[in-house]
């Protein structure tokens, strides 16, 4: 299993780059940084049934992407795990597409349960879904992903306080700690301090993933999160990643937050990423 799952991230990154290149817009940096997270979740850990997609997700784990701008990685992983045809990736950000710039339920794309893009809202929605699961005796879990810059939004801390105070222990929130945001590093723009300590102070159990671009470490960290669930505390995983991971000239800088590669850059990037599952047709 692990042998075959390791082939997936390279293909996901090819999808991300080809999608944003085709429309010369979108957010490749954060998408590439979170590729291993999405692969670990959707191809190994999440209890989910892609087909037919059920909005209510009863007796399934749920996932909410709060930092919706990294839609390319979300779309690629949803398509590659069977929510919709892989060919549809070539409609990303084009007119009449279900693959809007930021994820939405509005066009009926399977796998999306709430719109996100305006930052800071996903944790609250996930807590509501987690409360709904508790109410109906559904033991499955609710997973979320947030950017570290996104934590600057006040609503995140309203939600964090609620989950800690009300012992919402069926939620696992992962923070993509890449240390970057649009205007520069988080250190320059708005120093985040110790994110884990902040969540601990709000009553969360905190788990660290020291290298979020090492698939086995991500799987271990998420597995540890799952083991700690159901024990009276919400789980926060602080996952250190490199924005733009997987391509040498894109890695570790905020420059590729919302910039698409040109033809030459795409060719260079793709040469660093083996085609493992077959590219989607343009």
């Amino acid at each position: 299993m692990n042998n075959s799952i390791e082939l997936i991230p390279s293909q996901i990154r090819r999808d991300i780059l080809r999608m944003v290149h085709a429309v010369q817009s979108g957010h490749p940096g954060g998408s590439m940084g979170c590729t291993e997270f999405f692969v670990a979740l959707y191809f190994k850990l999440l209890n989910h049934s892609p087909e037919p997609f059920n909005m209510d997700g009863k007796n399934e784990d749920l996932f909410f992407l709060s930092n919706g701008h990294i839609s390319p990685v979300f779309y690629s992983v949803l398509a590659r795990s069977g929510y919709f045809p892989v060919e549809e990736l070539n409609t990303f950000r084009k007119i009449d597409s279900r693959l809007q710039g930021h994820p939405t339920t509005h066009e009926g794309l399977p796998g999306i349960r709430v719109a996100s893009g305006s930052l800071g809202q996903g944790l609250s929605v996930a807590i509501g879904a987690a409360e709904a699961k508790r109410l109906s005796g559904d033991k499955n879990l609710v997973f979320t992903l947030h950017g570290d810059g996104e934590l600057q939004e006040g609503q995140v801390w309203e939600a964090a306080l609620y989950a800690g105070s009300k012992n919402i222990d069926n939620i696992i929130a992962t923070i993509d700690a890449n240390g970057q945001q649009i205007d520069g590093s988080t250190e320059e723009v708005m120093a985040m301090g110790d994110i884990g300590s902040k969540f601990e102070a709000f009553g969360w159990q905190v788990i660290q993933i020291t290298d979020g671009n090492d698939l086995s470490k991500v799987i271990d960290g998420l597995t540890s999160g799952i083991k700690h669930s159901g024990k009276g505390k919400p789980i926060c995983i602080v996952m250190k990643t490199e924005m733009g991971a997987g391509v040498d000239f894109m890695s570790g800088t905020h420059k590729w937050h919302g910039i698409a590669p040109n033809d030459e850059q795409l060719e260079n990037a793709l040469s660093q990423l083996p085609e493992t599952l077959g590219d989607y047709p343009l």
Binding site: V114, S118, Q121, S124, I127, G128, A129, L135, E158, Y162
Partner: protein
């Protein structure tokens, strides 16, 4: 004289509380969230009887709105409760993205709307909420006039699939609609029939419009008073049918002119049947502290102002 009898002053928010409690008993899907205003919103009965379905979110309205959106995922029907100001202006982006754009079946229930909130003053007296909510695609917007109508509307919106904004108020006001009358979303209610002028009102100003009807009748003016409790979708059919008879319209509401009921009526008339119209509404200003009746008088929203507006529109 119109035939509506005040069965006793009651607050509209208690109608909401009673409707919500009734829903708690008959529909296990209904859940409620409140941001530290359980007593003010009259949600205690629901919270006490169904504690597992009641979510106290603390003073954190953005989180409450997001949670409500999430609770729909799993088939629940969430009712959020806080003051109108904190139900709309404070959380506009959360409602826009997580509820309206996401098509979530959340009922946003808002008390203490408008000037009649009274002594707390302008910080809390939102007069822009209907405009904010009606601009959101797919949002149903309702402003009820008394206890009975608020209770009926609370029950009715649980059967409507899609986001709803339900607006009501703080003070005790005449309770005059029938307790037996079911609430029909999107259907205006003709309270008095008349040929000279159509008076369109909602919320607390419906009773003022009925008082104006009596005074106008004494001077030989027959007004057709219509309660437009649903602002969106607007009952254009009832509007046009009445205007065909009267050819004159006065609107009355506890809201800014911009974005309110009168604004919707004006648009509908301009597009379908232009005719003289006057608006009784707050004219681009904030409110202030005072007693509800003093405020309605000072800001030109009482029966006397409706009568003046009728006289103006009849001269045009």
């Amino acid at each position: 004289m119109h035939s509506y009898i005040n069965s006793g002053h009651k607050d509209t928010r208690s109608g909401f509380g009673s409707g919500l409690y009734h829903l708690g008993k008959i529909n296990p899907k209904v859940v409620a969230l409140c941001a530290d205003l359980t007593g003010s919103l009259k949600m205690n009965a629901f919270a006490d009887e169904f504690p597992e379905r009641f979510f106290q979110t603390g003073i954190a309205e953005a989180n409450m709105i997001g949670m409500a959106a999430g609770l729909t995922i799993g088939g629940r029907i969430p009712f959020t409760g806080t003051f109108a100001n904190f139900s709309t202006g404070r959380v506009y982006d959360q409602i826009r993205q997580s509820i309206a754009y996401s098509g979530k079946n959340v009922k946003i229930c808002a008390s203490h709307a408008g000037l009649t909130l009274g002594e707390d003053g302008a910080t809390h007296q939102i007069l822009e909420d209907i405009g904010l909510m009606k601009m959101l695609p797919g949002m149903t917007v309702i402003s009820t006039c008394d206890y009975n109508e608020t209770k009926a509307a609370t029950i009715a919106i649980s059967n409507h699939s899609g986001p709803v904004y339900l607006r009501f108020g703080r003070p005790k006001v005449p309770n005059f609609t029938s307790p037996e009358k079911p609430f029909l979303i999107g259907k205006a209610d003709i309270l008095t029939e008349g040929d000279d002028v159509t008076i369109i009102a909602n919320g607390h100003l419906v009773w003022e419009a009925l008082q104006a009807y009596n005074s106008l009748e004494e001077i030989g003016i027959r007004a057709e008073v219509i309660n437009f409790s649903t602002i969106k979708p607007l009952d254009i059919k009832t509007l046009l049918k009445s205007v065909k008879k009267t050819g004159r319209v006065v609107t009355a509401e506890e809201h800014q002119r911009n974005g309110g009921l009168g604004d919707s009526i004006s648009q509908a008339l301009s597009l379908n049947n232009p005719c003289p119209m006057e608006m009784v509404a707050v004219n681009d200003s904030f409110g202030e502290s005072g007693k509800p009746d003093q405020l309605l008088k000072k800001y030109g929203l009482d029966a006397k102002n409706i009568i003046s507006a009728v006289q103006r529109v009849l001269k045009r």
